[in-house]
Amino acid sequence: MLEVNFNKSLGHFTLNSSFKADKGVLGILGSSGCGKSMTLKCIAGLYKPDKGMIKLNDRVLYCSDFKINIPSRNRNIGYVFQNYALFPHLTVQKNIAYGVKHLEKNERLAKVGEMIERMQLKGLENNYPSQLSGGQQQRTALARTLIRQPELLLLDEPFSALDTHIKYLLEKELVSIIKDNFDGIVLLVTHNIEEAYRICDNIMVIDQGQNLQYGKKEEIIHSPANVSTARITGCKNFLDVTVLEELEHEVVLKAKDLVFKAEKRNIPYSRNMVAGVRAHHLRLSSTGDYGGSSFVCDIVEKIEGVFSTTVIVNCMGCTFQVEVAKAACPHLLGCGGKKIKLHIPPHQVFLMKRET
């Protein structure tokens, strides 16, 4: 169990971090400069918070009240850096052995040998990091960290410097290595919601140094608690709405001239709110009708991606971004100005407090 509650100021920027994490992978999601890396560095002891407390499995690592600040080297925390930070002047074997120098020689060599075997690095013992592929570098970095049997593993954007095709492979490999070799708490810092969703069990969203939301990944995607969380998790459509009526299962919303419905959820409703709906949940159709939640709209613009097309439509004064699979809707391509229908599924619409 990791318990974190601290704040740290850096110029005009203040980082407030407060959360608990249990065994499993917790993703820390945020845009660059939001303080997610700083959070990891404070937990690792590379930066000192101004105030607060950090506790790992009943061991206090940092406490401003009792002036406790255990140095990084004694925290028993594993850290995988963005570019792995393998020592360029040491071979694979010596890199892995670097953290277990305190062991007696035979035991050390045996442990390193076992780790090399387990990480499929056999035959590469005497290579230098510059001679390794990305996957081999990642495995060496994990071996170097896991050989110390850390209680907590911190992953600081491990894939952000990689090409897309190799990123996928390394991600899969990382997940399986961690599953097989590490039974503790893992924190993964990333700015990529897809990556966080694939790897993590729980997600914490950070923006401008503040924790915005923390919960199961499905819950974060399904019902973001505020506009920033929705934006960081990839939501494109936001509407200022007036809540006209609260029914038993639905609420009736009005944005400009558009009146539509949203599923009723367990949140406090007020008159003026923001409604969000993700681009891939909206449907466009020229023929079909989805009942009461379909509206006539005009196509404003189309942006073609590799696998999907983003269509920007105007629906009674409101602008929506709709993501359409290319193959699914060939009839939409090349039909500028044509009248079609926009379907807004009520159970995919979430309401958030209006931020001032």
Binding site: L46, R73, G78, F81, Q82, A85, F87, Y98, G99, R148
Partner: protein, 223 residues
């Protein structure tokens, strides 16, 4: 007059090597602290370490005389307690050339230290090593080419120093007369053979050292 006395050659190398060793042990920790920290005090020290490069050698020599001369507190202390005199001795020559040489070592090592990626240090910290250990096992091995370039550069500077050494240790033949001073002296006395020989040696050393530094820097860039 065509006598060839190779004592200056011997003395110069002895003085330069000793001065380089001193600048290494004093300069390397300074370079490390300058590369690690930030702040007004460190900026001030940084400026101070560069002063010997900018100041005229005579001015530098004058300061050393004031600081270490027989009338200065340090000079009186050393003379009365240990019977050590600095002015007009080879020790003075070592100190003078070390002061001239040390900025080059600090500058080159500092640059090399700064180029060591902070992540390597953080990784080492989390792998259980303390700062001194990290300095020896990570920083120096990664930055060694820059340090080596600094050592060679400070060696040539120490070897070639004229003005400051002359001010502090004078030009006593067979006692404190180093090569650069001997060249001047030989020219004054009209001993062309001696002057030519010493000039040739100095030039040879300079060329070799420049070659080494170039090689190190090229390799450093390649990584």
């Amino acid at each position: 007059m065509g006598d060839i006395n190779l004592f200056p050659l011997y003395l110069s190398f002895r003085v330069a090597i000793t001065a380089t060793i001193f600048s290494f042990f004093i300069g390397l920790p300074i370079a490390y602290f300058l590369s690690r920290g930030k702040g007004k005090l460190l900026d001030f020290i940084d400026t101070l370490t560069n002063l010997p490069v900018v100041l005229p050698p005579t001015v530098l020599g004058y300061y050393l005389l004031v600081l270490l001369g027989r009338q200065s507190p340090i000079g009186i202390f050393l003379e009365s307690n240990f019977n050590i005199m600095i002015v007009f001795t080879p020790t003075g020559a070592v100190i003078a050339s070390a002061v001239v040489a040390i900025p080059y070592l600090i500058k080159s090592s500092k640059t090399a230290f700064l180029e060591v990626n902070e992540d390597y240090l953080n990784a080492a910290r989390l792998l259980g090593r303390n700062e001194f250990n990290i300095f020896c096992t990570v920083i120096v091995p990664i930055a060694w080419r820059g340090i080596a370039a600094g050592i060679t550069m400070s060696f040539v500077r120490a070897l070639g120093d004229f003005g400051t050494t002359l001010m502090v240790s004078g030009s006593i033949p067979n006692k404190t007369m180093t090569m650069p001073i001997a060249i001047y002296d030989a020219l004054q006395a009209g001993n062309k053979i001696m002057a030519n020989l010493l000039v040739l040696i100095m030039t040879g050393v300079a060329v070799v050292v420049l070659f080494i530094i170039n090689m190190l820097e090229r390799k450093m860039k390649r990584g």
